[in-house]
Symmetry: C2
Subunit: 139 residues, 2 copies
DNA sequence: GTTTTTAATTATAATTATTATAATTTTGTA
DNA sequence: TACAAAATTATAATAATTATAATTAAAAAC
């Protein structure tokens, strides 16, 4: 079974015209689940695709966002990161190792009195601190 | 009563050496509560202080952050914004008018099973959507 | 299956944001 | 006032992003 074929269908299903570059970019984000930046995506893929242009990465990410098949997260420092998991979930960034961990939380448990008549379209919960790996290592 | 005098004391209390520029920058963020970007702060203050350098704004914001008298919020688009309210609180950005609203929420009500042994240092909750002003105007 | 049309990718240039460095000015202290 | 230290400013360098045009690839028409 070839994953690229599945991604090809997935893109078409979401009104994204498929191409070799687009499949590879989506594949990278979806498989690695590492919340990569534009530069990470480019640097990793240019190894496989030497002709790849960073412009294509920018354009493709913009298109994927418009079609809602990826989400953009700006956890800190002006560094935008991308995630193929578009469901609402939380992100934890470790100050030591820099890794970003996903976590689930119950959105409905948060009570908003001040903005209860506002139309909510997107929710982002970011937590920064030290992950358990780095915490135990320091002892 | 002169607010600048109070800010002067406040800065000293927080181990920040006071200066005319630093007082004006803190004053702008604290009084306007508009979560300004570097450019907003510079553009507004350069009207009063024609010799002001953007470098000073960058340096001062970095210093204020280190001393924890402001917080940096990166709600979207690679645009960093600054807030003199350093207590944990949520931010709502309206897609129509662009304004950012503060709201309170009870952090303890959110249950994190996956990261329950992680050391939490900072929490940011961002919500995007349409504010009630813009929502009623569109009807 | 070749030609034509359209769209995507690439290469390049332009713009913007940020950081680094050195010169100048200000502030505090003797 | 004179000196030393720090902050501010001016300028240059770097990095990130966007815009534009040329090239290549894909799709549609014939
Ligand atoms: Mn995620
Ligand atoms: Mn706020
Ligand atoms: Zn870690
Ligand atoms: Zn609004």
């Amino acid at each position: 079974m070839n994953l690229s074929v599945n991604i090809n269908d997935f893109l078409k299903l979401n009104e994204v015209k498929s191409s070799f570059q687009r499949i590879k970019i989506y594949e990278y984000i979806a498989e690695n689940k590492n919340h990569p930046t534009v530069n990470t995506i480019f640097d990793e893929l240019v190894k496989q695709i030497p002709t790849l242009s960073k412009m294509t990465v920018y354009n493709t990410l913009k298109l994927f966002r418009e079609k809602n098949i990826i989400q953009e997260i700006s956890i800190e420092d002006n560094e935008l990161r991308y995630d193929a998991n578009v469901k609402t979930h939380g992100h934890f960034k470790c100050r030591k190792c820099g890794e970003i961990f996903d976590f689930e939380y119950n959105n409905s448990e948060i009570v908003f009195t001040e903005i209860n008549n506002y139309k909510i379209e997107e929710t982002q919960l970011f937590i920064k601190g030290i992950c358990s790996n780095c915490f135990t290592m320091n002892k």
